[in-house]
């Protein structure tokens, strides 16, 4: 119990950021019309690709002869990039279909 309290206390700023983001995530999309559900899902999918930054850090700080780390990190970078790039491109394609013809 005390251990958890201390942990929370030490990271209280990060926890604030988490809580505020949770509320913000809920508020921001709570009135999305149902046609946009799929593109929104896809856009959100691209955004969580931000995990690629972790992969870059892992790679960038690995010792140059630590091959297991390098190989796993390399894989992680590739997968993360596909998530980000593919996600944004596919979302853009969807939205192009949806709206291109409205105007």
């Amino acid at each position: 119990m005390e251990y958890i309290l201390t942990f929370l206390h030490q990271h209280i700023d990060l926890i604030y950021i988490v809580i505020l983001s949770v509320f913000l995530g809920i508020e921001v999309i709570s009135r999305v019309p149902s046609v946009l559900h799929t593109p929104l899902m896809s856009g959100a999918n691209a955004i969580h690709g931000v995990v690629i930054i972790g992969a870059i850090i892992v790679m960038g700080k690995a010792e140059t002869d630590n091959y297991p780390a390098l190989i796993i990190g390399f894989l992680a970078v590739i997968l993360g990039t596909i998530n980000v790039v593919g996600g944004f491109v596919v979302t853009d394609r969807m939205l192009e279909m949806f709206k291109g013809k409205k105007k």
Binding site: Y3, F7, Q10, I17, V22, L24, G25, V28, I29, R31, V32, V35, L36, H37, T38, P39, M41, S42, G43, A44, I47, G49, V50, V51, I52, I53, G54, A55, I56, I57, V58, M59, G60, T64, P68, A69, I72, G73, L75, V77, I78, L79, G80, T81, I82, N83, V85, G86, G87, F88, V89, V90, D92, R93, M94, L95, M97, F98, K99, K101
Partner: protein, 488 residues
């Protein structure tokens, strides 16, 4: 200086994510929102590569990093550009799985790193008492918990997404057995138990720790498979949205691990927005999330399908008669459904529409929000066939127009026009708003048989005197109808 700038870059990145999500949820700004978020992401990635410092030293292995980025970028662009519009949900699922895998792999490397550190401490050369204490302290325990969370959630999301992809492409069949839920619960308990144990022992026996870690990894992957396996293929969009928010949480764990605020906010935003989105998706189909996950009718649809009891009589209409009815109408509304997508009949449908318009018939489409198998499915489908956007009526507008419509042509839709949603409280779709086609003068229904649709229930509409059935595959029927109308 560099890291100050990086902080600002990350802040800008987070703000673009918030704005991006906000704009994505409004039709007018959605596309721009996506670009805003993408720009922020690029900035954050470039900033990390060039400005990130580990103990004041810049990153290295640039060769590997750029090669990885290039390979990933090319694959990402190509697959996203090549994929057919109607196959987008499975594409999104695949991308999501990769994000989950990325998070899990990061955990693997970081845990390995941690274990090495601990082993060094035990080696006789370095008995740095202080560092040992540090490792045993709450901070390092917290680190292990976060690494584990990221691993487990990432792995579940990855494995689950691959199964979801498989189901949507037809490569994986629905599969459930008695006691499935108990097995799932058992595996989950095992994962949690092992994790707790690992947290308590990793500092003293790093060797065992590493093994346990990989066991947990394996179990998490297995759980991902178990989690998605029994859920009906038609429910996959909801499942993907849920796994999407899982991956968001996994990414946020990474943010905690590196005290990296852009990962943290990006991940959490997706985690919470994704969860709400999942719930909204369920609501649009008038179901609860629990209902989807336990698969109360999603999975049982196929089974119930055969059981449809005959109820009254339906009447059929010949192709030529249907052609005459449509050609001589003043206003025709087409109701597309899942069947149209299955038959890939969107182009034939657009041809029919043009042919009718040439004959002076006013043709419109009535789009139900959950027609098809993903939100916006019909919009995407018809957009692919170049149907002008103005011809698509949203549900409310369509319902206002049916009373003045001469003929409604239903192409492979079923649940979205089922009057039981309004009249029968016992029906599983009761309460879902539907397209009230029975207000039009004549209703022509095209489908292949009298089998029910997604919800696995009988449709009274087909037995009403106004309604006539036009059996056959949507594409074939439309092509024949087209030539018949040309001859009228």
């Amino acid at each position: 200086m560099g890291s100050s700038i990086l902080s600002i870059i990350y802040l800008v990145g987070s703000v673009t994510f918030i704005l991006g999500l906000k704009m994505l949820s409004k039709p007018d700004t959605a596309r721009k929102g996506n670009l805003v978020a993408a720009a922020g992401m690029s900035l954050a990635i470039l900033g990390t590569i060039f400005l990130y410092r580990v103990n004041d030293a810049p990153l290295h292995n640039y060769g590997w990093i750029f090669t990885g980025l290039t390979i990933g970028g090319v694959i990402g662009v190509l697959s996203a550009k090549k994929v057919k519009m109607t196959a987008m949900p499975e594409m999104v699922s695949m991308f999501n799985g990769m994000g989950g895998a990325c998070a899990a792999l990061i955990s693997v490397v970081e845990f390995d790193h941690l274990i090495k550190l601990i082993k060094n401490l035990y080696a006789p050369v370095a008995d740095d008492h202080l560092a040992l204490q540090l490792l045993e302290s709450s901070t390092s325990r917290g680190t292990v918990i976060i690494i584990l969370l990221s691993l487990i959630i990432g792995a579940v999301s990855c494995a689950g997404s691959i199964i979801a992809w498989g189901k949507l492409t037809g490569k994986v069949k629905d599969f459930s057995f008695n006691g499935q839920h108990f097995l799932n619960l058992g595996v989950l308990t095992l994962i949690v138990g092992l994790s707790v144990w690992l947290v308590s022992i990793f500092g003293t026996s790093p060797g065992t720790g590493l093994i346990v870690f990989y066991i947990i990894f394996g179990l998490a992957l297995f759980y991902g498979v178990l989690f998605v396996m029994p859920i009906g293929g038609a429910d996959m969009p909801v499942v993907i949205s849920l796994l999407n928010s899982f991956t968001g949480v996994a990414a946020a764990c990474g943010g905690f691990l590196y005290s990296n605020p852009v990962m943290l906010t990006g991940g959490i935003l997706v985690g919470s927005a994704g969860t709400i989105l999942t719930i909204l998706m369920c609501k649009a189909m008038n179901r609860s999330l629990k209902n989807v996950l336990i698969g109360s009718f999603g999975g049982g649809a196929a089974a119930a399908a055969g059981a449809g009891k005959e109820q009254g009589n339906y009447k059929e209409i010949s192709l030529n008669d249907a052609a005459v009815v449509l050609a001589y109408a003043n206003k025709v509304i087409i109701v597309p459904g899942y069947g149209l997508a299955v038959a890939q009949a969107q182009h034939a449908c657009h041809e029919l529409e043009k042919q009718l318009e040439e004959k002076g018939v006013e043709v419109k489409y009535a789009i139900h929000p959950v027609a098809g198998r993903m939100p916006g499915h019909m919009n995407v489908l018809l957009a692919e066939a170049d149907v002008p956007y103005e011809k698509l009526l949203e549900m409310e507008d369509a319902n206002a127009e049916f009373p003045t419509t001469d003929a409604v042509l239903i192409l492979g839709a079923n649940d979205v026009v089922n009057p039981a949603a309004k009249s029968d409280p016992a029906s599983p779709i009761y309460g879902m708003p539907i397209l009230e086609v029975e207000n039009a003068k004549v209703v022509i229904v095209n489908k292949r048989s009298m089998k029910p649709g997604y919800a696995g229930i009988e449709n009274d509409l087909f037995f009403q005197p106004k309604t006539s059935m036009l059996f056959g595959d949507a594409k074939k029927v439309l092509q024949e109808l087209l030539s018949a109308i040309k001859e009228v």
